[in-house]
Amino acid sequence: MIKLQEVSKIYEMGDDRVYALDHANMEIREGEFVSIVGPSGSGKSTMMNIIGCLDTADEGSYILDGISIERYSEKELAKIRNQKIGFIFQNFNLLPRLTAEENVELPLIYQKLSLQERKHRVREAMEQVELSQRMKHRPTELSGGQQQRVAIARALVTKPSLFLADEPTGNLDSRTGQEIMELFHNLHEAGNTIVLITHDRQVAEEAERKIHIRDGKVREVEVG
Protein backbone atom coordinates (compact mmCIF):
# COMPACT_ATOMS: atom_id res chain seq x y z
CA MET A 1 0.00 0.00 0.00
CA ILE A 2 2.80 2.39 0.94
CA LYS A 3 6.23 2.04 -0.57
CA LEU A 4 9.17 4.39 -0.07
CA GLN A 5 12.11 3.75 -2.38
CA GLU A 6 15.35 5.57 -1.70
CA VAL A 7 13.43 8.62 -0.54
CA SER A 8 15.49 11.68 0.46
CA LYS A 9 14.48 15.07 1.71
CA ILE A 10 17.24 17.63 1.61
CA TYR A 11 17.39 21.08 3.25
CA GLU A 12 19.93 23.61 2.12
CA MET A 13 21.56 25.41 5.06
CA GLY A 14 23.90 27.90 3.47
CA ASP A 15 26.46 25.74 1.71
CA ASP A 16 25.52 22.62 3.64
CA ARG A 17 23.03 20.05 2.48
CA VAL A 18 21.24 18.47 5.39
CA TYR A 19 19.45 15.18 4.77
CA ALA A 20 16.25 15.10 6.83
CA LEU A 21 15.59 11.78 5.15
CA ASP A 22 18.50 9.88 3.71
CA HIS A 23 17.64 7.27 1.08
CA ALA A 24 14.92 5.74 3.21
CA ASN A 25 13.26 2.49 2.17
CA MET A 26 10.09 1.24 3.75
CA GLU A 27 6.95 -0.69 2.99
CA ILE A 28 3.59 -0.80 4.73
CA ARG A 29 0.90 -3.20 3.66
CA GLU A 30 -2.82 -2.65 3.69
CA GLY A 31 -4.48 -3.29 7.07
CA GLU A 32 -1.24 -3.02 9.01
CA PHE A 33 -0.78 -1.12 12.28
CA VAL A 34 2.72 0.30 12.13
CA SER A 35 4.55 2.71 14.38
CA ILE A 36 7.43 4.84 13.25
CA VAL A 37 9.70 5.46 16.22
CA GLY A 38 12.66 7.73 16.62
CA PRO A 39 14.04 10.50 18.78
CA SER A 40 13.37 14.15 18.12
CA GLY A 41 15.09 15.34 14.91
CA SER A 42 15.44 11.82 13.54
CA GLY A 43 13.34 12.64 10.47
CA LYS A 44 10.13 10.92 11.47
CA SER A 45 8.04 14.08 11.04
CA THR A 46 9.51 14.57 7.56
CA MET A 47 8.61 10.94 6.87
CA MET A 48 5.04 11.58 8.02
CA ASN A 49 4.73 14.71 5.86
CA ILE A 50 5.83 12.76 2.81
CA ILE A 51 3.58 9.79 3.55
CA GLY A 52 0.71 12.23 4.17
CA CYS A 53 1.33 14.06 0.87
CA LEU A 54 1.86 17.32 2.76
CA ASP A 55 5.35 17.49 1.32
CA THR A 56 7.14 15.86 -1.59
CA ALA A 57 10.43 13.98 -1.64
CA ASP A 58 13.48 15.52 -3.31
CA GLU A 59 14.85 12.17 -4.37
CA GLY A 60 13.48 8.67 -4.69
CA SER A 61 9.86 7.69 -5.13
CA TYR A 62 6.86 7.31 -2.93
CA ILE A 63 4.15 4.96 -4.11
CA LEU A 64 0.71 5.12 -2.54
CA ASP A 65 -1.84 2.55 -3.64
CA GLY A 66 0.34 1.64 -6.60
CA ILE A 67 0.67 5.18 -7.96
CA SER A 68 3.80 7.31 -7.76
CA ILE A 69 2.99 10.57 -5.92
CA GLU A 70 5.60 12.67 -7.73
CA ARG A 71 3.37 12.82 -10.78
CA TYR A 72 0.53 14.58 -9.02
CA SER A 73 -0.25 18.28 -9.11
CA GLU A 74 -1.02 20.29 -5.98
CA LYS A 75 -4.72 20.02 -6.74
CA GLU A 76 -4.57 16.24 -7.07
CA LEU A 77 -2.53 15.95 -3.88
CA ALA A 78 -5.25 17.90 -2.05
CA LYS A 79 -7.76 15.38 -3.37
CA ILE A 80 -5.63 12.46 -2.20
CA ARG A 81 -5.26 14.00 1.27
CA ASN A 82 -9.00 14.48 1.35
CA GLN A 83 -10.02 11.00 0.21
CA LYS A 84 -7.24 8.59 1.14
CA ILE A 85 -5.62 9.99 4.24
CA GLY A 86 -6.97 10.76 7.68
CA PHE A 87 -4.67 12.97 9.76
CA ILE A 88 -4.54 12.97 13.55
CA PHE A 89 -2.18 15.54 15.04
CA GLN A 90 -0.55 15.87 18.44
CA ASN A 91 -2.20 19.25 19.07
CA PHE A 92 -5.53 18.13 17.54
CA ASN A 93 -5.58 20.99 14.99
CA LEU A 94 -9.29 21.68 15.23
CA LEU A 95 -10.65 25.02 14.01
CA PRO A 96 -11.55 26.91 17.20
CA ARG A 97 -14.42 28.89 15.68
CA LEU A 98 -16.29 25.81 14.49
CA THR A 99 -18.29 23.37 16.60
CA ALA A 100 -17.22 19.72 16.91
CA GLU A 101 -19.83 18.80 14.32
CA GLU A 102 -18.64 21.47 11.86
CA ASN A 103 -15.02 20.45 12.31
CA VAL A 104 -15.87 16.87 11.45
CA GLU A 105 -18.00 18.02 8.50
CA LEU A 106 -15.19 20.11 6.96
CA PRO A 107 -13.45 17.41 4.85
CA LEU A 108 -16.86 16.35 3.49
CA ILE A 109 -17.55 19.92 2.37
CA TYR A 110 -14.41 19.77 0.26
CA GLN A 111 -15.76 16.51 -1.22
CA LYS A 112 -18.88 18.48 -2.22
CA LEU A 113 -21.27 15.95 -0.68
CA SER A 114 -24.93 16.82 -0.15
CA LEU A 115 -25.99 18.28 3.19
CA GLN A 116 -28.02 15.19 4.03
CA GLU A 117 -25.14 12.84 3.31
CA ARG A 118 -22.76 15.01 5.31
CA LYS A 119 -25.04 15.14 8.35
CA HIS A 120 -25.49 11.38 8.25
CA ARG A 121 -21.79 10.64 8.04
CA VAL A 122 -20.85 13.18 10.71
CA ARG A 123 -23.35 11.60 13.12
CA GLU A 124 -21.94 8.14 12.34
CA ALA A 125 -18.36 9.28 12.93
CA MET A 126 -19.23 11.08 16.17
CA GLU A 127 -21.01 7.94 17.42
CA GLN A 128 -17.96 5.89 16.59
CA VAL A 129 -15.79 8.05 18.84
CA GLU A 130 -18.60 8.17 21.45
CA LEU A 131 -19.08 11.93 21.27
CA SER A 132 -22.56 12.23 19.80
CA GLN A 133 -23.63 14.23 22.86
CA ARG A 134 -21.01 16.90 22.21
CA MET A 135 -21.81 17.76 18.59
CA LYS A 136 -22.55 21.43 19.20
CA HIS A 137 -19.60 22.14 21.48
CA ARG A 138 -16.66 24.19 20.39
CA PRO A 139 -13.13 22.78 20.85
CA THR A 140 -12.48 25.11 23.80
CA GLU A 141 -15.46 23.58 25.60
CA LEU A 142 -14.04 20.08 25.28
CA SER A 143 -11.30 18.26 27.21
CA GLY A 144 -8.04 17.27 25.49
CA GLY A 145 -9.20 13.68 25.11
CA GLN A 146 -12.52 14.78 23.66
CA GLN A 147 -10.78 17.13 21.24
CA GLN A 148 -8.59 14.29 20.01
CA ARG A 149 -11.71 12.15 19.56
CA VAL A 150 -13.23 14.90 17.43
CA ALA A 151 -10.00 14.96 15.40
CA ILE A 152 -10.22 11.17 14.95
CA ALA A 153 -13.86 11.52 13.90
CA ARG A 154 -12.77 14.15 11.36
CA ALA A 155 -10.16 11.70 10.04
CA LEU A 156 -12.49 8.73 9.76
CA VAL A 157 -15.52 10.58 8.38
CA THR A 158 -14.09 10.41 4.85
CA LYS A 159 -13.45 6.64 5.21
CA PRO A 160 -9.77 6.98 4.25
CA SER A 161 -7.53 4.06 3.39
CA LEU A 162 -4.76 5.31 5.69
CA PHE A 163 -4.80 6.86 9.17
CA LEU A 164 -1.74 8.93 9.87
CA ALA A 165 -1.31 9.85 13.52
CA ASP A 166 1.49 12.14 14.69
CA GLU A 167 2.06 11.72 18.44
CA PRO A 168 -1.68 11.43 19.03
CA THR A 169 -1.27 10.89 22.76
CA GLY A 170 1.53 13.42 23.24
CA ASN A 171 -0.70 16.08 24.78
CA LEU A 172 -2.85 13.74 26.83
CA ASP A 173 -2.54 12.12 30.25
CA SER A 174 -1.81 8.39 30.22
CA ARG A 175 -5.37 7.30 30.98
CA THR A 176 -6.88 9.42 28.21
CA GLY A 177 -3.99 8.40 25.97
CA GLN A 178 -4.91 4.78 26.57
CA GLU A 179 -8.50 5.48 25.60
CA ILE A 180 -7.33 7.07 22.37
CA MET A 181 -5.07 4.07 21.66
CA GLU A 182 -8.11 1.89 22.24
CA LEU A 183 -9.85 3.76 19.42
CA PHE A 184 -6.90 3.10 17.12
CA HIS A 185 -7.09 -0.59 17.92
CA ASN A 186 -10.79 -0.55 17.07
CA LEU A 187 -10.05 1.15 13.76
CA HIS A 188 -7.34 -1.40 13.04
CA GLU A 189 -9.64 -4.30 13.83
CA ALA A 190 -12.13 -2.84 11.36
CA GLY A 191 -9.47 -3.36 8.68
CA ASN A 192 -7.93 0.12 8.47
CA THR A 193 -4.25 0.83 7.88
CA ILE A 194 -2.72 2.87 10.69
CA VAL A 195 0.65 4.60 10.80
CA LEU A 196 1.56 5.96 14.22
CA ILE A 197 4.48 8.32 14.57
CA THR A 198 5.88 8.63 18.07
CA HIS A 199 8.99 8.95 20.17
CA ASP A 200 7.32 7.13 23.04
CA ARG A 201 8.46 3.50 23.07
CA GLN A 202 5.51 2.42 25.21
CA VAL A 203 3.01 3.84 22.71
CA ALA A 204 5.00 2.32 19.86
CA GLU A 205 4.67 -1.11 21.47
CA GLU A 206 0.94 -1.04 20.73
CA ALA A 207 1.60 -1.46 17.00
CA GLU A 208 2.05 -4.75 15.16
CA ARG A 209 5.31 -3.58 13.70
CA LYS A 210 7.82 -0.88 14.63
CA ILE A 211 10.01 1.00 12.20
CA HIS A 212 12.98 2.70 13.86
CA ILE A 213 14.35 5.78 12.26
CA ARG A 214 17.49 7.68 13.17
CA ASP A 215 19.43 10.44 11.40
CA GLY A 216 17.07 10.26 8.47
CA LYS A 217 17.69 6.57 7.86
CA VAL A 218 15.45 3.57 8.46
CA ARG A 219 17.55 1.56 10.87
CA GLU A 220 15.52 -1.37 11.88
CA VAL A 221 12.17 -2.96 11.38
CA GLU A 222 10.91 -4.85 14.36
CA VAL A 223 7.87 -7.07 14.56
CA GLY A 224 6.08 -6.41 17.84
Binding site: L54, D55, R81, N93, R97, R154
Partner: protein
Protein backbone atom coordinates in the same frame (compact mmCIF):
# COMPACT_ATOMS: atom_id res chain seq x y z
CA UNK B 1 -20.62 27.25 -2.56
CA UNK B 2 -23.23 27.90 0.13
CA UNK B 3 -20.91 26.28 2.68
CA UNK B 4 -17.98 28.44 1.59
CA UNK B 5 -20.23 31.48 1.84
CA UNK B 6 -21.25 30.46 5.34
CA UNK B 7 -17.62 29.93 6.35
CA UNK B 8 -16.65 33.32 4.93
CA UNK B 9 -19.56 34.97 6.72
CA UNK B 10 -18.55 33.35 10.03
CA UNK B 11 -14.98 34.52 9.57
CA UNK B 12 -16.17 38.07 8.86
CA UNK B 13 -18.42 38.00 11.94
CA UNK B 14 -15.68 36.61 14.18
CA UNK B 15 -13.98 40.02 14.42
CA UNK B 16 -16.92 42.37 14.51
CA UNK B 17 -15.12 45.58 15.47
CA UNK B 18 -12.31 45.00 13.02
CA UNK B 19 -14.74 44.21 10.23
CA UNK B 20 -16.79 47.30 11.04
CA UNK B 21 -13.74 49.57 11.01
CA UNK B 22 -12.67 48.10 7.69
CA UNK B 23 -16.15 48.58 6.32
CA UNK B 24 -16.18 52.18 7.52
CA UNK B 25 -13.83 53.17 4.70
CA UNK B 26 -16.27 51.78 2.15
CA UNK B 27 -19.32 53.16 4.01
CA UNK B 28 -17.88 56.70 3.98
CA UNK B 29 -16.74 56.40 0.37
CA UNK B 30 -20.11 55.17 -0.90
CA UNK B 31 -22.11 57.65 1.18
CA UNK B 32 -19.91 60.53 -0.03
CA UNK B 33 -20.22 59.39 -3.63
CA UNK B 34 -24.00 59.14 -3.58
CA UNK B 35 -24.65 62.29 -1.53
CA UNK B 36 -22.29 64.51 -3.51
CA UNK B 37 -23.44 63.35 -6.92
CA UNK B 38 -27.11 63.51 -5.91
CA UNK B 39 -26.73 67.08 -4.62
CA UNK B 40 -24.88 68.17 -7.76
CA UNK B 41 -27.63 66.57 -9.82
CA UNK B 42 -30.38 68.18 -7.78
CA UNK B 43 -28.82 71.64 -8.01
CA UNK B 44 -28.24 71.23 -11.74
CA UNK B 45 -31.80 70.09 -12.32
CA UNK B 46 -33.34 72.94 -10.40
CA UNK B 47 -31.25 75.54 -12.25
CA UNK B 48 -32.04 74.05 -15.64
CA UNK B 49 -35.72 73.81 -14.87
CA UNK B 50 -35.74 77.46 -13.87
CA UNK B 51 -33.97 78.44 -17.06
CA UNK B 52 -36.35 76.43 -19.17
CA UNK B 53 -39.29 77.99 -17.33
CA UNK B 54 -38.18 81.29 -18.81
CA UNK B 55 -38.67 79.92 -22.27
CA UNK B 56 -35.93 78.95 -24.62
CA UNK B 57 -36.96 80.61 -27.84
CA UNK B 58 -35.32 83.97 -27.45
CA UNK B 59 -31.93 85.45 -28.16
CA UNK B 60 -30.18 87.88 -25.94
CA UNK B 61 -27.96 90.51 -27.57
CA UNK B 62 -25.36 92.66 -25.88
CA UNK B 63 -23.75 95.57 -27.68
CA UNK B 64 -20.25 96.02 -26.44
CA UNK B 65 -18.86 98.53 -28.91
CA UNK B 66 -21.25 100.86 -30.70
CA UNK B 67 -18.54 102.62 -32.81
CA UNK B 68 -19.91 105.96 -31.66
CA UNK B 69 -23.05 105.17 -33.55
CA UNK B 70 -25.31 103.89 -30.80
CA UNK B 71 -28.47 101.97 -31.45
CA UNK B 72 -31.35 104.32 -30.83
CA UNK B 73 -34.83 103.50 -29.70
CA UNK B 74 -36.28 105.13 -32.78
CA UNK B 75 -34.51 102.81 -35.20
CA UNK B 76 -34.91 99.75 -33.00
CA UNK B 77 -38.40 98.68 -33.98
CA UNK B 78 -37.70 99.21 -37.69
CA UNK B 79 -34.47 97.23 -37.52
CA UNK B 80 -36.13 94.09 -36.26
CA UNK B 81 -39.45 94.40 -38.00
CA UNK B 82 -39.17 91.08 -39.82
CA UNK B 83 -41.33 88.00 -39.96
CA UNK B 84 -38.75 85.66 -38.52
CA UNK B 85 -38.74 87.61 -35.26
CA UNK B 86 -41.87 87.21 -33.19
CA UNK B 87 -41.07 90.24 -31.08
CA UNK B 88 -38.13 92.26 -29.83
CA UNK B 89 -37.47 94.51 -26.87
CA UNK B 90 -34.61 96.67 -25.60
CA UNK B 91 -33.70 96.34 -21.94
CA UNK B 92 -32.10 98.84 -19.62
CA UNK B 93 -31.83 98.39 -15.93
CA UNK B 94 -31.52 100.52 -12.85
CA UNK B 95 -32.65 100.38 -9.28
CA UNK B 96 -34.63 102.93 -7.37
CA UNK B 97 -36.35 103.44 -4.07
CA UNK B 98 -39.98 102.78 -4.52
CA UNK B 99 -42.50 104.40 -2.20
CA UNK B 100 -46.20 103.99 -1.78
CA UNK B 101 -48.55 104.87 1.00
CA UNK B 102 -47.80 101.52 2.66
CA UNK B 103 -44.11 100.92 2.31
CA UNK B 104 -40.79 102.02 0.94
CA UNK B 105 -38.10 99.70 -0.38
CA UNK B 106 -35.58 99.20 -3.13
CA UNK B 107 -36.92 98.02 -6.47
CA UNK B 108 -35.32 96.86 -9.72
CA UNK B 109 -36.51 98.94 -12.65
CA UNK B 110 -36.36 97.64 -16.20
CA UNK B 111 -36.81 100.02 -19.08
CA UNK B 112 -38.26 98.17 -22.02
CA UNK B 113 -41.07 97.96 -24.54
CA UNK B 114 -44.26 95.92 -24.76
CA UNK B 115 -42.42 93.24 -26.73
CA UNK B 116 -40.46 92.24 -23.62
CA UNK B 117 -43.45 90.51 -22.02
CA UNK B 118 -44.07 88.46 -25.11
CA UNK B 119 -40.36 87.51 -25.37
CA UNK B 120 -40.30 86.39 -21.74
CA UNK B 121 -43.72 84.78 -21.90
CA UNK B 122 -45.04 86.92 -19.05
CA UNK B 123 -48.75 87.18 -18.58
CA UNK B 124 -50.94 89.81 -17.02
CA UNK B 125 -52.78 89.47 -13.78
CA UNK B 126 -54.56 92.79 -14.12
CA UNK B 127 -54.46 96.00 -16.16
CA UNK B 128 -52.43 96.34 -19.38
CA UNK B 129 -48.86 95.97 -20.61
CA UNK B 130 -46.60 98.74 -21.98
CA UNK B 131 -47.82 100.28 -25.24
CA UNK B 132 -46.04 101.87 -28.15
CA UNK B 133 -47.56 105.19 -27.23
CA UNK B 134 -46.09 104.92 -23.72
CA UNK B 135 -42.64 104.83 -25.30
CA UNK B 136 -43.38 107.66 -27.70
CA UNK B 137 -44.78 109.89 -24.99
CA UNK B 138 -42.20 109.02 -22.33
CA UNK B 139 -45.16 108.14 -20.13
CA UNK B 140 -44.73 107.68 -16.39
CA UNK B 141 -46.48 104.30 -16.28
CA UNK B 142 -45.23 101.11 -14.72
CA UNK B 143 -46.04 97.42 -14.97
CA UNK B 144 -45.11 95.60 -11.77
CA UNK B 145 -44.77 92.00 -10.74
CA UNK B 146 -47.40 90.42 -8.50
CA UNK B 147 -45.03 90.25 -5.54
CA UNK B 148 -44.20 93.91 -5.97
CA UNK B 149 -47.89 94.83 -5.96
CA UNK B 150 -48.39 92.88 -2.76
CA UNK B 151 -45.31 94.50 -1.20
CA UNK B 152 -46.32 98.10 -1.96
CA UNK B 153 -50.09 97.96 -2.00
CA UNK B 154 -50.94 94.90 0.03
CA UNK B 155 -52.90 93.29 -2.81
CA UNK B 156 -52.42 92.01 -6.34
CA UNK B 157 -54.86 94.27 -8.12
CA UNK B 158 -52.97 97.55 -7.82
CA UNK B 159 -53.91 98.98 -11.23
CA UNK B 160 -54.41 102.76 -11.08
CA UNK B 161 -52.35 103.20 -7.88
CA UNK B 162 -49.40 105.54 -7.82
CA UNK B 163 -45.88 104.32 -7.08
CA UNK B 164 -43.13 106.84 -6.48
CA UNK B 165 -39.69 105.97 -7.83
CA UNK B 166 -36.93 108.19 -6.50
CA UNK B 167 -39.53 110.93 -6.06
CA UNK B 168 -41.16 110.59 -9.49
CA UNK B 169 -44.72 109.37 -9.59
CA UNK B 170 -45.58 106.45 -11.83
CA UNK B 171 -49.05 105.14 -12.41
CA UNK B 172 -49.41 101.36 -12.16
CA UNK B 173 -50.73 100.31 -15.55
CA UNK B 174 -50.60 96.58 -15.08
CA UNK B 175 -49.71 93.77 -12.69
CA UNK B 176 -48.07 90.57 -13.94
CA UNK B 177 -49.32 87.14 -12.94
CA UNK B 178 -47.71 85.31 -10.03
CA UNK B 179 -45.68 82.84 -12.01
CA UNK B 180 -44.11 85.34 -14.41
CA UNK B 181 -40.41 84.78 -13.87
CA UNK B 182 -37.96 87.49 -14.83
CA UNK B 183 -34.38 86.73 -15.90
CA UNK B 184 -32.88 88.16 -12.73
CA UNK B 185 -35.12 86.30 -10.32
CA UNK B 186 -34.84 83.07 -12.22
CA UNK B 187 -31.05 83.10 -12.26
CA UNK B 188 -30.89 83.25 -8.52
CA UNK B 189 -32.28 80.20 -6.81
CA UNK B 190 -35.83 81.20 -6.25
CA UNK B 191 -37.51 80.73 -2.95
CA UNK B 192 -40.84 79.05 -2.83
CA UNK B 193 -43.82 81.01 -1.69
CA UNK B 194 -44.06 79.46 1.70
CA UNK B 195 -40.54 80.32 2.76
CA UNK B 196 -39.75 83.63 4.35
CA UNK B 197 -36.92 84.53 1.98
CA UNK B 198 -37.17 88.02 0.53
CA UNK B 199 -38.54 88.28 -2.98
CA UNK B 200 -37.02 90.64 -5.49
CA UNK B 201 -39.24 93.57 -6.40
CA UNK B 202 -39.49 94.43 -10.07
CA UNK B 203 -41.13 97.04 -12.22
CA UNK B 204 -41.15 97.65 -15.96
CA UNK B 205 -41.35 101.17 -17.41
CA UNK B 206 -41.07 102.47 -21.00
CA UNK B 207 -37.47 102.48 -22.22
CA UNK B 208 -37.72 106.12 -23.20
CA UNK B 209 -38.85 107.05 -19.70
CA UNK B 210 -35.96 105.11 -18.15
CA UNK B 211 -33.40 106.95 -20.25
CA UNK B 212 -34.86 110.19 -18.94
CA UNK B 213 -34.81 109.34 -15.24
CA UNK B 214 -31.62 107.24 -15.12
CA UNK B 215 -28.23 108.74 -15.94
CA UNK B 216 -26.67 105.50 -17.07
CA UNK B 217 -29.25 104.50 -19.66
CA UNK B 218 -29.02 106.40 -22.91
CA UNK B 219 -28.57 104.16 -25.89
CA UNK B 220 -29.56 100.52 -26.24
CA UNK B 221 -26.88 98.17 -24.97
CA UNK B 222 -28.95 95.07 -24.50
CA UNK B 223 -32.06 93.69 -26.11
CA UNK B 224 -34.00 90.49 -26.58
CA UNK B 225 -35.42 89.02 -29.76
CA UNK B 226 -37.72 86.03 -29.86
CA UNK B 227 -38.52 83.68 -32.70
CA UNK B 228 -41.77 81.95 -33.52
CA UNK B 229 -40.71 78.70 -31.91
CA UNK B 230 -37.59 76.77 -30.93
CA UNK B 231 -37.20 75.31 -34.41
CA UNK B 232 -36.88 78.71 -36.08
CA UNK B 233 -34.23 79.83 -33.56
CA UNK B 234 -31.28 79.13 -35.83
CA UNK B 235 -32.81 81.00 -38.70
CA UNK B 236 -33.61 83.94 -36.44
CA UNK B 237 -30.09 83.94 -35.05
CA UNK B 238 -28.59 84.04 -38.55
CA UNK B 239 -30.86 86.85 -39.66
CA UNK B 240 -30.15 88.81 -36.48
CA UNK B 241 -26.43 88.49 -37.00
CA UNK B 242 -26.80 89.69 -40.57
CA UNK B 243 -28.76 92.76 -39.48
CA UNK B 244 -26.33 93.63 -36.71
CA UNK B 245 -23.26 93.17 -38.91
CA UNK B 246 -24.76 95.53 -41.42
CA UNK B 247 -25.66 98.02 -38.73
CA UNK B 248 -22.20 97.99 -37.11
CA UNK B 249 -20.14 97.93 -40.27
CA UNK B 250 -19.24 94.25 -40.35
CA UNK B 251 -17.58 94.36 -36.94
CA UNK B 252 -18.15 90.98 -35.32
CA UNK B 253 -16.82 92.15 -31.98
CA UNK B 254 -19.31 94.96 -31.64
CA UNK B 255 -22.01 92.67 -30.30
CA UNK B 256 -22.60 89.24 -28.88
CA UNK B 257 -25.62 87.02 -29.32
CA UNK B 258 -26.53 84.53 -26.68
CA UNK B 259 -28.85 81.70 -27.36
CA UNK B 260 -30.92 80.51 -24.40
CA UNK B 261 -30.39 76.86 -25.33
CA UNK B 262 -26.64 77.51 -25.39
CA UNK B 263 -26.88 78.67 -21.80
CA UNK B 264 -28.80 75.51 -20.98
CA UNK B 265 -26.17 73.40 -22.66
CA UNK B 266 -23.40 75.24 -20.86
CA UNK B 267 -25.21 74.74 -17.56
CA UNK B 268 -25.64 71.04 -18.27
CA UNK B 269 -21.96 70.83 -19.12
CA UNK B 270 -20.96 72.57 -15.89
CA UNK B 271 -23.28 70.33 -13.95
CA UNK B 272 -21.89 67.21 -15.60
CA UNK B 273 -18.30 68.27 -14.92
CA UNK B 274 -19.22 69.05 -11.33
CA UNK B 275 -20.81 65.62 -10.86
CA UNK B 276 -17.76 63.95 -12.37
CA UNK B 277 -15.39 65.91 -10.16
CA UNK B 278 -17.33 65.24 -6.97
CA UNK B 279 -17.82 61.61 -7.99
CA UNK B 280 -14.09 61.34 -8.66
CA UNK B 281 -13.19 62.68 -5.23
CA UNK B 282 -15.62 60.26 -3.58
CA UNK B 283 -14.28 57.42 -5.70
CA UNK B 284 -10.81 58.11 -4.34
CA UNK B 285 -12.10 57.67 -0.80
CA UNK B 286 -13.68 54.40 -1.91
CA UNK B 287 -10.31 53.34 -3.24
CA UNK B 288 -8.74 54.15 0.12
CA UNK B 289 -11.44 51.98 1.69
CA UNK B 290 -10.37 49.19 -0.66
CA UNK B 291 -6.78 49.49 0.52
CA UNK B 292 -8.10 49.15 4.07
CA UNK B 293 -9.77 45.90 3.08
CA UNK B 294 -6.57 44.60 1.54
CA UNK B 295 -4.62 45.54 4.64
CA UNK B 296 -6.95 43.73 7.00
CA UNK B 297 -7.23 40.72 4.71
CA UNK B 298 -3.44 40.40 4.71
CA UNK B 299 -3.45 40.49 8.52
CA UNK B 300 -6.23 37.94 8.53
CA UNK B 301 -4.34 35.61 6.19
CA UNK B 302 -1.25 35.76 8.43
CA UNK B 303 -3.30 35.24 11.58
CA UNK B 304 -5.08 32.28 10.10
CA UNK B 305 -2.04 30.59 8.57
CA UNK B 306 -2.57 27.58 10.80
CA UNK B 307 -6.22 27.36 9.83
CA UNK B 308 -5.18 27.43 6.18
CA UNK B 309 -2.71 24.60 6.93
CA UNK B 310 -5.40 22.52 8.63
CA UNK B 311 -7.85 23.08 5.81
CA UNK B 312 -5.25 22.10 3.24
CA UNK B 313 -4.25 18.99 5.23
CA UNK B 314 -7.82 17.74 5.23
CA UNK B 315 -8.21 18.31 1.53
CA UNK B 316 -8.95 21.94 0.65
CA UNK B 317 -7.49 22.82 -2.73
CA UNK B 318 -5.95 26.16 -3.63
CA UNK B 319 -9.13 27.27 -5.33
CA UNK B 320 -11.31 26.59 -2.25
CA UNK B 321 -8.99 28.59 0.01
CA UNK B 322 -8.73 31.41 -2.49
CA UNK B 323 -12.47 31.51 -3.02
CA UNK B 324 -13.10 31.64 0.72
CA UNK B 325 -10.80 34.62 1.32
CA UNK B 326 -12.01 36.41 -1.80
CA UNK B 327 -15.57 35.97 -0.63
CA UNK B 328 -14.66 37.44 2.75
CA UNK B 329 -13.26 40.56 1.08
CA UNK B 330 -16.34 40.78 -1.12
CA UNK B 331 -18.70 40.43 1.85
CA UNK B 332 -16.92 43.26 3.68
CA UNK B 333 -16.96 45.59 0.67
CA UNK B 334 -20.55 44.86 -0.35
CA UNK B 335 -21.89 45.05 3.21
CA UNK B 336 -20.03 48.35 3.54
CA UNK B 337 -21.58 49.50 0.28
CA UNK B 338 -25.11 48.64 1.41
CA UNK B 339 -24.56 50.40 4.73
CA UNK B 340 -23.17 53.37 2.79
CA UNK B 341 -26.28 53.47 0.60
CA UNK B 342 -28.41 53.40 3.76
CA UNK B 343 -26.38 56.24 5.29
CA UNK B 344 -26.60 58.32 2.12
CA UNK B 345 -30.36 57.76 1.97
CA UNK B 346 -30.70 59.11 5.51
CA UNK B 347 -28.22 61.90 4.76
CA UNK B 348 -30.15 62.98 1.66
CA UNK B 349 -33.41 63.00 3.64
CA UNK B 350 -31.83 65.33 6.19
CA UNK B 351 -30.32 67.56 3.50
CA UNK B 352 -33.65 67.59 1.65
CA UNK B 353 -35.42 68.68 4.83
CA UNK B 354 -32.89 71.48 5.41
CA UNK B 355 -32.94 72.72 1.81
CA UNK B 356 -36.72 72.70 1.65
CA UNK B 357 -38.15 72.67 -1.84
CA UNK B 358 -35.49 74.92 -3.34
CA UNK B 359 -33.35 71.99 -4.45
CA UNK B 360 -34.76 68.56 -5.07
CA UNK B 361 -32.26 66.10 -3.63
CA UNK B 362 -33.21 62.53 -4.39
CA UNK B 363 -30.96 59.49 -4.40
CA UNK B 364 -29.64 58.89 -7.86
CA UNK B 365 -30.44 55.24 -8.56
CA UNK B 366 -27.79 54.98 -11.22
CA UNK B 367 -25.09 56.21 -8.86
CA UNK B 368 -26.27 53.77 -6.17
CA UNK B 369 -26.05 50.91 -8.66
CA UNK B 370 -22.67 52.16 -9.83
CA UNK B 371 -21.40 52.26 -6.25
CA UNK B 372 -22.48 48.64 -5.73
CA UNK B 373 -20.58 47.60 -8.85
CA UNK B 374 -17.58 49.71 -7.91
CA UNK B 375 -17.50 48.27 -4.37
CA UNK B 376 -17.75 44.77 -5.78
CA UNK B 377 -14.81 45.42 -8.09
CA UNK B 378 -12.84 46.95 -5.21
CA UNK B 379 -13.60 43.93 -3.00
CA UNK B 380 -12.36 41.56 -5.69
CA UNK B 381 -9.33 43.60 -6.77
CA UNK B 382 -8.09 44.26 -3.24
CA UNK B 383 -9.09 40.82 -1.98
CA UNK B 384 -7.32 39.00 -4.79
CA UNK B 385 -3.76 39.42 -3.57
CA UNK B 386 -4.41 38.32 0.04
CA UNK B 387 -6.56 35.43 -1.19
CA UNK B 388 -3.82 34.34 -3.57
CA UNK B 389 -1.29 34.57 -0.79
CA UNK B 390 -3.47 32.34 1.38
CA UNK B 391 -4.03 29.83 -1.39
CA UNK B 392 -0.34 29.58 -2.24
CA UNK B 393 0.75 28.69 1.27
CA UNK B 394 2.34 25.27 1.46
CA UNK B 395 0.33 23.02 3.75
CA UNK B 396 3.41 21.89 5.64
CA UNK B 397 4.64 25.44 6.30
CA UNK B 398 1.17 26.62 7.25
CA UNK B 399 0.73 23.74 9.71
CA UNK B 400 4.07 24.48 11.36
CA UNK B 401 3.21 28.16 11.78
CA UNK B 402 2.90 29.04 15.44
CA UNK B 403 2.51 32.83 15.38
Amino acid sequence: MIQTGKMAWNAVCANKLRTFLTMLGIIIGVAALIILVSIADGAGNSVSSQISEMGSNYLSVRISDNKENPLKLTEFSELFDEEVFLSSAPVGRTSATGKSGYSSSSINIYGTSGGYFSVMGMELYAGRLLKKTDLENHSYVIVISYDTAVEYFGRGDAVGETLSLDGKSFQVAGVLSKDAASPSSAMSVRSSEDTSETVSLEGYIPYSTLSRIADNVLEINQFYVSSENEESMDEAELRLEEILLKRFGNDEDAFSIQNQSEIMEAMAEVDHTMSLMLGGIAAISLLVGGIGIMNIMLVSVTERTREIGIRKAIGAGQSSIMFQFLLEALIVSLAGCLAGIGCSWCGLKVIGAIMGSSIQVAMNGKVALLSVLFSGVIGIVFGLYPAKKAAKKKPIDALRYSG
